[in-house]
């Protein structure tokens, strides 16, 4: 779904709380226009081709992998990706309290191209204390489909749950809807 284009690596922006209520993973996804206007919360739906911004703050240092469970087609890895990690890492180290944003003008554009359909999708942000607790590519398989966790070409959604205290593995999901 969401396509990632551009050439700048995923960036880390200024440290700042994302929400009033701290969770192990605080995250939101919104439109680029709203983000630049100061919005720091998720919105539930996005239009085709709308530029998006995804931000998260881990409350614990560790390893993170962000995936999109798409409307149809491959599970796609948003981060790390071929731009941010050219050596092909499938998870990236993150530091507690730092804010990471993707889709901003300082990073790379994220959007949902029309050929990838409309409907419900889901982003997962998995934070683990050990790199080996991240999932392998084959763990994303759907019977009868050629699904792989391709890098690049991703997108996003909008709501989150995460516990206040980090565990060895914590996952936040962002549900989203793409409309015409």
């Amino acid at each position: 779904m969401l396509r990632v284009t551009g050439w700048i690596t995923a960036g880390m922006l200024a440290t700042a709380p994302l929400a009033a209520e701290a969770r192990c993973i605080d995250a939101f996804m919104t439109g680029l226009a709203e983000f630049e206007a100061g919005q720091q919360t998720s919105k539930p739906s996005f239009r085709v081709n709308e530029l998006l911004v995804l931000c998260f703050v881990p409350q614990q240092s560790g390893y993170v992998a962000i995936f999109d469970a798409p409307i149809k087609g491959d599970f796609q890895q948003l981060y790390p990706n071929a731009l941010s990690h050219p050596e092909g890492q499938t998870s990236a180290e993150v530091s507690a309290g730092e804010r990471y944003c993707f889709g901003t003008r300082e990073t790379f554009p994220l959007y949902h191209p029309p050929e990838e359909g409309v409907g419900l999708g889901k982003i997962s942000i998995a934070l683990t204390s050990r790199e080996e607790d991240q999932l392998a590519e084959e763990d994303y398989a759907i019977p009868g489909q050629k699904v792989s966790r391709q890098k690049m070409q991703l997108h996003l959604g909008a709501y989150q749950r995460s516990q206040a205290k980090c565990a060895a593995r914590d996952v936040t999901y962002l549900d989203y809807r793409i409309t015409q």
Binding site: I71, G119, G121, D139, I142, S162, A167
Partner: protein, 280 residues
């Protein structure tokens, strides 16, 4: 459906925990039931939020008033369910229905094109390999993000090991021998060592991480029940937040002390499921 020992979902209740979307697994608390808790309190638990179970389906006999088993969408046109659901039922007489927005079965269903039970299924041997696949005549319009994902042994060990808090749902009886629920119900249960089920059911329950999965509470109180058979036991983790670790298989009564629920372990049947779907 359920015969004798065959069970279906728990009529249970879900004390809290389930409401509210895809929740991080670690966030959900398994509420240990008290042994002196009245059964009705369990039976009269909260209804499930249908959007938390987008992949769940009910199996419905044409002309019947209620569904007889549950299942899960593992792709747009394949349903994973229990083999024991098909003792008397004929695929051509059954339709598959998702949950409507109010938790009732959506009246618009799908017909079954093919039924494939696990070749090793043995109802006389603790419902060994109690899994079956249904190929639908017409796919459901459900995005991949809403499907149940089947864990490998490795993933199960990482994300859903023994003691993990899991959830099971269905339209089955709200108490042992009781009537089916009109609304989708769900309950959280804890995965237990298979030794716990061997104590109650005997050595026929395979030890370790084999074909049987034991879940519930040793003191009873929460469980799946008749009519829940074939439904999914999930952990809210993995790519979609719907990691299906078990298929409701059987139990003695529902929520009885010393007899937790027995499920077909998905990871133990994953290779068969994938190869069967690919071959058909």
């Amino acid at each position: 459906m359920r015969a004798g020992v065959a069970k279906a979902l728990m009529g249970a209740v879900l004390a809290m925990g389930i409401a509210g979307g895809a929740v991080a697994q670690a966030q959900m608390e398994c509420i240990e039931p008290k042994s002196d808790q009245p059964v009705l309190r369990i039976v009269n638990g909260d209804r499930a939020k249908p959007s938390d179970w987008p992949f769940i389906v009910g199996l419905y006999h044409q002309g019947a008033k209620t569904q007889f088993c549950g299942g899960s969408l593992i792709s747009q046109n394949w349903v994973l369910t229990a083999a024991h659901c098909w003792g008397e039922a004929r695929p051509q007489d059954v339709s598959i229905h998702r949950a409507g927005s109010d938790g009732r079965l959506d009246p618009k269903g799908r017909r079954i094109a093919k039924l494939i039970a696990h070749p090793g299924y043995d109802p006389a041997d603790m419902n060994l390999h109690d899994v079956a696949l249904l190929k639908l005549a017409e796919p459901f319009d459900i995005p991949n993000s809403q499907l149940a994902i089947l864990p490998s042994k490795t993933v199960e060990a990482k994300l859903a090991d023994v003691r993990t808090c899991s959830e099971v749902a269905g339209w089955g009886a709200l108490q042992s021998g009781g009537a089916a629920s009109a609304y989708l119900m769900a309950v959280n249960v804890r995965q237990l060592p298979t030794e716990t089920c061997r104590k109650g059911y005997g050595p026929g329950i395979r030890p370790g991480q084999g074909p049987h999965l034991c879940a519930g509470y040793e003191e009873g109180g929460k469980d799946s029940c008749q009519g829940d058979s074939g439904g999914p036991l999930i952990v809210r983790d993995g790519p979609t937040g719907f990691l299906q670790v078990g298929v409701v298989s059987f139990g003695k009564g529902c929520a009885w002390k010393g007899f937790p629920g027995v499920y077909a372990r998905v990871s133990d049947h994953r290779d068969w499921i994938f190869s069967t779907v690919e071959a058909h």
